[in-house]
């Protein structure tokens, strides 16, 4: 075999002992090659076909090639925001403004909740649902209000599906949402860095970068992350038009989402929607770095605790009872 000529033939090892000068045979070989290439291309296209139907509706080349949020420069981000606004108009018929809210210098957000005052009315969960443009059919909300037996402190035994006048005398009520951990397990497990902690303490998700693997959902000990199983359905007139890239813009199907302490409000100095909705004033929100803030007064003077402290997640969300 080693001594056989290879130029113009099928190459060594193919087994066809042809004379290199045979012209008719060369044409047949070209034909075979062309057929092979065509078949190969067809098989490749067929293999990729499910990907095309499986990906999001109308996923444009721009969407597909979009960089990670933190890699975008100003012009690129402006183009992305404009494009997202147009998409919302096209898919939902609503005119919305999608902004990019950045952290304020010298601010780290903290939240505290007075369990002696909370009556379990779930108005916070409802306010979250509307503020953050959640899917209407699933009653999705970033807040889960747990009915707890007095004397018990294990949130895993809380019941979110109570349906009787509240507060029940033997129970207390514990709303649980993202705890904005300083050591967030959800961030550590993300294989593509689609979720990270920002300078004011908020853990955010780039919905356009998330691959929907749900590792973060599994990692979160507070069950605070939600998955968009379907494309959110919201009537046009109910959409909150004031939106932000990292918070309440309508999420695509197949990505994770979470509470952002309403960063589109709080980074403008406003209270989160759940706090404003609370009829009893059980919620306290503010800047942990400001020693005169309401949240600092709570932490300095009340016996606050965090959920599942033993896990070392270092939450920025505190609970307390009145003495």
């Amino acid at each position: 075999m080693e001594n056989e000529p290879t130029s113009g033939g099928c190459g060594s090892g193919c087994g066809c002992h042809q004379d290199p000068g045979d012209r008719g045979d060369a044409t047949r070989r070209n034909l075979l090659k062309a057929a092979g290439v065509t078949l190969g291309a067809a098989a490749f296209a067929k293999a990729l076909a499910p990907l095309a139907t499986w990906s999001r509706d109308n996923l444009s080349v721009d969407d597909f090639l979009q960089q990670h949020y933190r890699e975008l420069d100003k012009e690129q981000l402006a183009a992305v925001l404009k494009h997202l606004e147009e998409d919302t108009k096209k898919n939902y018929g609503a005119d919305v403004t999608i902004s990019d809210h950045r952290p304020q210098k010298g601010v780290k957000f903290g939240y505290a909740l007075n369990l002696s005052i909370c009556i379990g009315c779930r108005r916070c969960a409802e306010a979250c649902h509307h503020e953050n443009n959640h899917d209407r059919a699933t009653n999705n909300s970033y807040i889960r209000v747990l009915e707890m037996q007095k004397g018990s402190m294990d949130m895993e035994h809380g019941n979110a599906h109570y349906d009787h006048p509240v507060p029940h005398p033997d129970k207390f009520y514990m709303p649980v949402q993202c705890q904005q951990c300083d050591n967030p397990p959800c961030v550590h497990v993300c294989p593509v860095e689609a979720t990270w902690k920002e300078d004011d303490g908020i853990v955010v998700v780039d919905y356009n970068w998330c691959i929907g693997c749900r590792y973060c959902e599994a990692a979160c000990p507070y069950h605070a992350r939600r998955f968009n199983w379907t494309k959110p359905v919201i009537p046009k007139e109910e959409i909150n038009p004031k939106q932000s890239y990292l918070s309440n813009r309508i999420r695509p199907q197949g990505v994770m989402e979470k509470c952002t302490f309403c960063l589109h409000r709080t980074r403008e100095g406003k209270m989160p929607a759940c706090l404003e909705a609370c009829p009893t004033g059980a919620r306290v929100f503010g800047n942990l770095l400001d020693p005169d803030s309401e949240i600092r007064k709570v932490i300095d003077n009340k016996r606050v605790f965090v959920l599942k402290e033993e896990l070392g997640t270092k939450p920025s969300f505190f609970y307390f009872f009145d003495e």
Binding site: H68, Y69, R70, E71, L72, D73, K74, D100, R102, P103, Q104, K105, A112, N114, I117, I119, G120, C121, R122, R123, A125, E126, T138, N139, S141, V145, S152, D154, H157, N159, H161, Y162, D163, H164, P165, V166, W196, R226, W229, R267, G269, K270, M271, L275, E276, C278, P279, T280, G281, F285, G286, N287, S293, E294, K297, V298, N301, K302, D322, E323
Partner: protein, 208 residues
Amino acid sequence: MFFGVIAVIALWFVGALALPWVQRERDRPGRAFSDKAIGETLHPVAIRKPEGVALVDSGKKNAKGQPVMVACATCHDTRESNFKTNQGEALKEFHQGLQFRHGSQTCLSCHNAEDYNSLKKADGQALDFSQSMQLCSQCHGPQYRDYQNGSHGGMTGHWDLKQGPRERNTCTDCHDPHHPKYPLVMPVFPPKPVIGEAILPVDKSHSH
């Protein structure tokens, strides 16, 4: 000499490559802080004012069919005060439907027998109805302290008073002064189970 030239050229290359990268780094959203200028002046915190003098429905209608409301002093100015009364039912007129569940207080613990259009503090001083928080705080010190520290009572507006004002509820927005315990309510917005979630039967034994 030769290596010196090479080193200069290499440095120039590295610099030329790094400079735009450093410049771009600055306006990447993931790193930059908000560039919004925030002033130092603080916006006000407004406390919702309770209504002034309470008016009572006389049970009669005027020519337009609207209920005729009367002020407390309309009747009380000419009547003897009874300092022992502590239930609405004990009175012959008007106050029958009034539920009173507020400790061992009597009506005139808070209402001013000298002037029924005002309230009365523990030291006997008259107090306008719009200032009722002062009256409540005489007994409910811890709640008043927490209120002042921002951890009691609902509010709306801004956490950052440099960026905007805040509005706070007053005591009587949530607590009826005659039966101040917050009433039972039906919870709104029942959650729907998410995929894979098993709903435990309500009130399953808590014997863990």
